[in-house]
Structure formats: structure tokens, C-alpha cells
Symmetry: C2
């Protein structure tokens, strides 16, 4: 089902406003979701809107709440998200990090009592558009199995970093510290296809290639897979994200966070985020040129398979974004479209018009 | 061959002093190397001393050089390492980051024109001992193959992070962003054993399990392995380290760095490092308690194999360190001991005494 980008945005905004989200915050949150659909990360776009709506209806998220600064220095801030929408907290905190970076060279901000903040890369890019290096981290509901363990204790705990190059180019890293996001397992399951070894464990704590078992068990392996292929490194990265998020902010640690499903109960999740901005102007001149040179070098490398060119980190999303923007529409799966048609009726919003 | 820790330290110090390293810097560099041997990372201990000696003899490294600050703000500094020893540059830069973190909450320092700085984790721990979160990054000679490419363009580009917990405990992450360090392939080769799939590519750009081929080709896969198991994430992390190191400092980018062998030619390598310190006191109270709670939770988890307990990041090194310190000796391989016996004779230093 093909929907014009602006129509998808209109629908997301009105849906959030229908559940008492102020217009400014509905627009901010819709921008986050539309961005994910435009760059091709459909799991974090419209697909998540229902979760946000239900979190508001269950009062886990307070759409009218405003984050506050609890403590700050010239370069740091500790923020209480006050259970506001993830985008509300993240805009507040990343704006702070950006301001501080412009004054002190670096801004490091940790926020507690937040909600799901969508694609981590979106927040890193907010700083990148200001000519800064941006980083964003968050903890999440438990789903990553520490190396050697049988059950999950860490989240997908993503790391995002964006750095500007000349000519509007950039390096963008945006990755779960698990081997894959759970959405990739979902895709294989819907196609009735197996998953590669190294993505997930079954209930016995052993590797599984059965996508249905992997999805139901929700025990994702850290990046790297098992111990022999260095899965402890992905576990270490997840732990690092935990230090920056719950460690600094005083939010819940991942092992104490409730699950996040369409109809999660249990009140506010109290997630922790961390946002960093760094001003390259405080370091060696020519930063953007050096980043451009790296991008050029990597993209020009000879590929193993001539039909699969070497990409720079962020290129896949850039290509998707260019295609989507040129076409002017987002293509949603039929089932997803219908789900939101029904939600629209339920909350009294005009359903998305298809082209 | 069993050598008392203090005797190994004496030998490293005197060896560096025999090639005109000032006593203070010889002591600093020996401490870095001894630490690696104590925590069980033998590749980065005595094993590297010959490289450092040869780099000094070839004038690639200037052991009497002193790093200088080129630009700074309250929270940042840009440092010229002036081709000094890696430990000289790194002590200077991490001390700066620590001072800045104590004043501004965070210190972010990038250094160019440096040399091999040993174990990244050593530098992160320097901040951790001050009650701060410490991070250290460096680029290195090219050895990581970007996803889909045939040849290397990034280095092992390690990420290290250390965070203090209560009772002297800590989380320590110290990892190459390649699937494994080249030393692990070397170990398999010396045992005439294969390597697991996912560590390295052969000269044809395909996976190899032949440890000799992998060692000779030196085309390591990024953490995650091939594209289907998310190797592009390790590649992305390597790129992030490049942004922090060569991007900020103006050192060479990895694809322009010469190889680093025992007898490398080509002058100073011009490596870039990045050091970060963050003061948890600027954020939510109770940081060390929260880190301790995570450590306790992870270590208490039920393991898949009862004989392999779940470890927290940094525990392996902690266990090695406790054993080595208790024993009071480091056990070097016979071949390695003999190599350094001959080096001692060549540079006029008393060889290591064994127990």
C-alpha cells in the first residue's frame, strides 16, 4: 500500500494528538517515525506507532510531560525525562548536548525516566546536521543473552554515531549491540525461512536456526555470536551502553526493565538514554575533508562480488532515503496498512489515504 | 620460562633505556607492557618490546620527545604526540582528559603523531582508578576488511571503556573491532590448528579456516564476521574509531598508515588516539552501586554449561591478574624468552633471570 510521505506524517501526528499529545510533540514524534520509514527501517517507523499510542493510553507515557534538568556543568547534564514521549525527552536532551558542545567542545547528557526513543541514528544525525559528531545510546527491555548465559539480561542497547563530511556527506553508524534486531528474525519467520547460526538461542540455551523458536524465545546473541566468534565483545558493548544509560542517569538497569509489547503493562519503563555531541572545530582543522576521504576510499574498494559494491556505514539508509524521497511515497505491507486502518477508526482519526 | 614480575619490569625498563629512552618514559612504557602480561594479553606485553626498540632504533619513534597541546577548551584538547612513545603520548593525553573531566564533567582529547599505545584498556583504567569512566581508542595499521571488500582498509581499531563499581570492582571492555586480534590466528597457526569461520578472509576474498593462510593474508573480518551475521556492524565500529582518532586529531587515516612489523620501515606511523574521561558525580548519585548491581546480576546468571560460569566484561583479565600477582611471576614461552635473551645481548642489557 503506497502512501505519500506527507500523508503518513499527517496520520502519525493526528493519531498522537488524538490521544492527547500536544501538537509540537506529535509533530516531533511523527518526524522520528517517518524518518525510520524513509531510510528503510520499517520496524521503527509506523510499525511502532501502536506501541506509543497504547503506552499513552495505559498512562505509562505522559504525552504532556516536560523533561527537566536535574544537574549540569558546562559540558554535562543529567535530565529527568518525567515519563514524557521518547522524542520529547530526546529532543530536549540532544539539544542540550548540542548547545554544550558548541560552547565547551563536548556535551554529554544522560536522561532517566524516558520511553522508547525510536531509531538511535535519528538522534545522532540531529547533532551531525549542526556540523558536530553526534552519538546516542539507550537501554531497552531485556533481550540479549550475555555470553555463556541461558537467559537475557541486556537489551538491544544500540550505539549510534554520525559524523559530517564535506558536500553534505556523512558516516552514520546505527546498530543494536545484538547480532541482529528482533525484527530481522520476525521477517524470516513470516517468510517461513530459517535464520543463520549466530543470531539467537533456543530455550535450551543452544543455537537455533528455527526462526519461530528464536522469535518466541527472544534470546538474541550479542554481536559476534557465540564465545568462539567473539560474542563477548557484543556483550561488552551492551554493557558499555548500560554504563552510559542506566549507570549515569539512574534509570532502571536493563535487567529490571519490563518487556515492551503492543499492550505492555507495568507502568512507565524508566528507560535511560545518553546523548553526546562533539565539536570537531575544537580539534584538528580539516575534519570534514578527512571523513570525506575515508568515505571515498571505502566506497572505491574492489568488492568480492562485483554486484555488491562496498558501502560506507550509513550508505544503505542514504540510498533508501533517496529512493523514497524521489518517489514521494512509503510502501507499507498490506497487513500493516489494515492494522492502522482499524486503529484510525478506533481513535477517531482519518485513515491514511493511499495513492 | 618463569620470570618474577619485577624482573620482567626491570628488563623492559633497562631495554628501553638502552636505546636512549629517559627513565621516566621507560618506566611508563614498561608498566603498560607488564600490565598486559599480568592480565594475560601476552600479545601486547613483552612480545611487543622488540617492535618498540626497533621503532626507536629506526627513528620512527623519538623516545625523548614531549607531546604538546595545540588547542584546548575546558572539556577538550588537541594534542601533537610529536612521535613520542605511545605511552608518553597516552599518559599526557589521558591525564589531560582526567583533569578536564574533574573540572567540566567530561574530557575529550585527541592526539596525532603517536605510536603504538599497547593495550587500550590500560588507558581506560587510568581514568577508572580516579573514579571516572575512561575510554580509549586508536587507529592502527590496516588489517580489517570492510564488509564486501577484498582487502583491508581499517585497523583493529580498538574500543576500551572502564567504569568503577563499589568495592574496587569495575566493568572493563577492551576489544578490537575486528572479530579477533591477529594474535589469536597466530596461536592457532603455531598449534597447526584451523580457525573458526568468520575470523578472516583468504587472498580470494572468501572465508578461510586455514590459520596459516589467514595469518599470511592478514585480512581480518570485522566483529560479526560476514554481512549475514552483521559484520557491517564491526566495520561501522571501526569507522567510528577512525572518526574519533584520525578524524579529530588529523593523524593519518588507517588506509594511509604503513604496516607495523618487527622491522617496519617508512618512518613515523602517525597514529591517532582518542581519550575520554567522564565524571559520574555530574550525573545521578549512586553510579558505582548501579554498576555493582549489574556486575552481580550478570555473574549470578545460570550458565548454559555449568563448568563455564557467566563472566562480566573484564572478569577474565581480573582472574588472570589475581593469579599472576599471587604467583608473583609471569610465564613466558621458551621461544619468546630466548628471543629476548638474544635481544638483551644485542643491546647490552642483563637478560631476564628466571626463577
Amino acid at each position: 500500500m503506497e502512501v505519500r510521505i506527507e500523508e503518513a506524517r499527517r496520520f502519525m501526528e493526528q493519531s498522537l494528538m488524538a490521544v492527547q499529545t500536544p501538537e509540537s510533540e506529535a509533530k516531533a514524534h511523527a518526524d522520528l517515525l517517518v524518518h525510520a520509514d524513509i531510510v528503510g527501517h520499517f520496524s521503527h517507523g509506523l510499525n511502532r506507532l501502536e506501541f506509543y499510542i497504547n503506552d499513552i493510553l495505559s498512562k505509562a507515557t505522559v504525552p504532556t510531560a516536560k523533561p527537566v534538568i536535574l544537574k549540569e556543568t558546562e559540558a554535562t547534564a543529567w535530565v529527568d525525562g518525567c515519563n514524557a514521549l521518547g522524542a520529547t525527552v530526546s529532543n530536549f536532551a540532544m539539544d542540550l548536548a548540542i548547545q554544550k558542545a558548541k560552547k565547551a567542545g563536548v556535551g554529554w547528557v544522560a536522561a532517566k525516566r524516558s520511553n522508547h526513543f525510536g531509531m538511535a541514528g535519528y538522534w545522532a544525525l540531529k547533532a551531525e546536521r549542526e556540523g558536530l559528531i553526534g552519538m546516542a545510546f539507550t537501554n531497552t527491555s531485556p533481550i540479549m543473552v550475555p555470553t555463556r548465559a541461558k537467559k537475557s539480561a541486556l537489551g538491544t542497547n544500540p550505539i549510534a554515531m554520525a559524523a559530517p563530511a564535506t558536500g553534505g556527506d556523512s558516516i552514520v553508524v546505527d546498530m543494536a549491540t545484538t547480532a541482529v534486531a528482533v525484527g530481522k528474525i520476525e521477517v524470516q519467520m513470516h517468510k517461513d525461512e530459517p535464520i543463520p547460526e549466530g543470531w539467537a538461542l533456543g530455550p535450551d540455551g543452544k543455537l537455533t536456526t528455527d526462526s519461530k523458536v528464536a522469535f518466541d524465545t527472544a534470546n538474541l546473541l550479542p554481536l559476534g555470536g557465540l564465545e568462539e566468534t567473539s560474542g563477548y565483545k557484543g556483550y561488552g558493548l551492551g554493557a558499555m551502553v548500560e554504563v552510559f544509560c542506566s549507570g549515569l542517569s539512574g534509570s532502571k538497569s536493563t535487567h529490571n526493565i519490563r518487556g515492551w509489547e503492543v499492550n505492555s503493562q507495568g507502568g512507565p519503563p524508566d528507560l535511560g538514554h545518553c546523548f553526546v555531541a562533539i565539536d570537531p572545530e575544537c580539534f584538528a582543522p580539516g575534519f570534514a575533508e578527512r571523513i570525506a576521504d575515508c568515505l571515498h576510499h571505502w566506497r572505491s574498494m574492489e568488492p568480492v562480488d562485483p554486484s555488491l559494491p562496498v558501502l560506507a556505514p550509513g550508505d544503505k539508509e542514504r540510498i533508501n532515503s533517496e529512493e523514497t524521497t524521489k518517489r514521494g511515497t512509503i510502501i507499507y505491507a498490506q497487513k500493516q496498512y489494515e492494522r492502522y486502518f482499524n486503529i484510525a477508526k478506533r481513535i477517531g482519526v482519518q485513515p491514511m489515504e493511499t495513492v
